[in-house]
């Protein structure tokens, strides 16, 4: 894990992360009942305060101005957006916030790669780290841009599904670019030309760029009425991106909290599709399936 530690006893960090993980689980459970939902949100927020607080205390902070400026700007922006939005516009705001979470994960994995890059490039990093970073870049890029498009559709810009010939081939092409760049990142092979000697890990950013285009291409053909399901799925994706970041940084609470969101978000997506009598594939790709129910609900 990055950064050296300050003066706290070694087990404190892990114990605080355990407390945070328990608060997230209790909060999530309480969120599923109308009577306890408010308390659930507060429990989960308490877990976040514990996790972030202990992280701020624990790691040696060499650039406090940058860090606290970032926290201040983000808190002000989030608080302003959340308190000023009309109730009817809340779903698209959730979509926007969700995109920010996925984008942040992609940036964290990129910063970690840039920081830990050895003398012979990514080949010197453990394969778990580069693989986790590649997954974060792919899922994070798709989540960020996909969520922005979904939020835009809910807001009422270009609501209609945009269909065009060769749609699937185009998506497949960008997925292929992302997979090839991810392969180059994991195996430590340099990209050709001027990118070969760069210290900013070009293969990772090529992967993120391809994933970003893919995120836009995936959501653009879906109609505005299906956006709540798309945002539910992208929410699961941002959880998965956070969990993958946890693997890259070797951080337990990132893995637990991210995976909780990923798994519960996926089930919620399926439940939402079933309540509309559609399958997830039908919502995402249209055409396929004939409104038959998706997977079995728990």
């Amino acid at each position: 894990m990055l950064g050296s530690t300050a003066g706290l006893p070694p087990a404190t960090l892990s114990l605080a992360y355990l407390v945070a993980a328990v608060l997230f689980i209790l909060g999530l459970r309480a969120l599923t009942h109308p009577r306890t939902a408010r308390r659930g949100n507060l429990l989960s927020a308490a877990g976040m305060v514990v996790a972030v607080g202990v992280t701020l205390l624990w790691f040696e902070i060499l650039s406090p101005v940058v860090l606290f400026a970032g926290l201040l700007v983000g808190a002000a922006l989030g608080a302003w957006l959340a308190t000023s939005v009309d109730t009817t516009d809340m779903p698209q705001l959730v979509g926007l916030f969700n995109g920010f979470g996925g984008g942040a994960s992609a940036l964290v994995a990129g910063a970690e790669l840039v920081t830990r890059l050895g003398p012979t490039g990514t080949a010197t990093l453990p394969v778990e780290t580069t693989t986790a970073a590649a997954v974060t870049g792919l899922v994070g890029g798709v989540t960020f841009w996909g969520s922005l498009v979904a939020a835009g559709k809910l807001q009422g810009y270009v609501e209609d599904p945009l269909k065009y010939p060769g749609e699937d081939a185009l998506k497949a092409a960008f997925l292929a670019v992302a997979v090839i760049a991810g392969g180059a990142l994991v195996t430590g092979i340099d990209l050709p030309g001027a990118l070969a000697t760069a210290t900013w890990v070009p293969s990772y950013w090529v992967l993120v760029a391809a994933a970003s285009v893919l995120g836009i291409l995936l959501v653009v053909p879906i109609g505005g009425a299906d956006m709540p399901v798309v945002i539910a799925l992208l929410n699961a994706c941002s959880g998965l991106a956070a969990a993958a970041t946890g693997f890259a940084l070797d951080n337990s609470v990132l893995i637990v909290a991210g995976t909780l969101v990923g798994a519960s978000g996926l089930i919620l997506t399926v439940v939402m599709c079933e309540s509309m009598n559609r399958s997830l594939t039908n919502v995402l790709f249209g055409g396929y399936g004939t409104g038959a129910p998706g997977e079995d609900a728990p």
């Binding site: 689980i25 970032g70 979470g101 929410n235 969990a243």
Partner: protein
């Protein structure tokens, strides 16, 4: 921690996340997405670590942007969930 320990956490947390979601009333779908979205802002921890470490200019710039985005996700996510859930206040099912 090693990869296998991390994988253990991942698999067990996936089961917990799956089990928690059962019979959600439709009125709670959007608040639940919003509430879990705020939890996924946990990536703020990673952002804090990389931004605070200040290893290189590029890593610091990336870390700063990540902190801004993740903090927006966390603070905005919990606040907007709280506002959505206001209408469930004192309601007994």
């Amino acid at each position: 921690m090693g990869f296998v320990e991390n994988l253990t956490l991942f698999v067990l947390a996936a089961f917990v996340g799956y089990e928690v979601i059962t019979k959600i009333p439709a009125t709670l779908h959007t608040p639940l997405i919003s509430g879990t979205n705020a939890i996924s802002g946990i990536t703020l921890i990673g952002a804090v670590v990389v931004a605070g470490a200040g290893h290189s200019t590029l890593a610091t710039v990336l870390g700063f942007l990540a902190v801004v985005m993740a903090t927006t996700n966390v603070v905005g996510g919990y606040l907007v969930s709280h506002r959505m859930l206001e209408r469930f206040r004192g309601r007994e099912d």
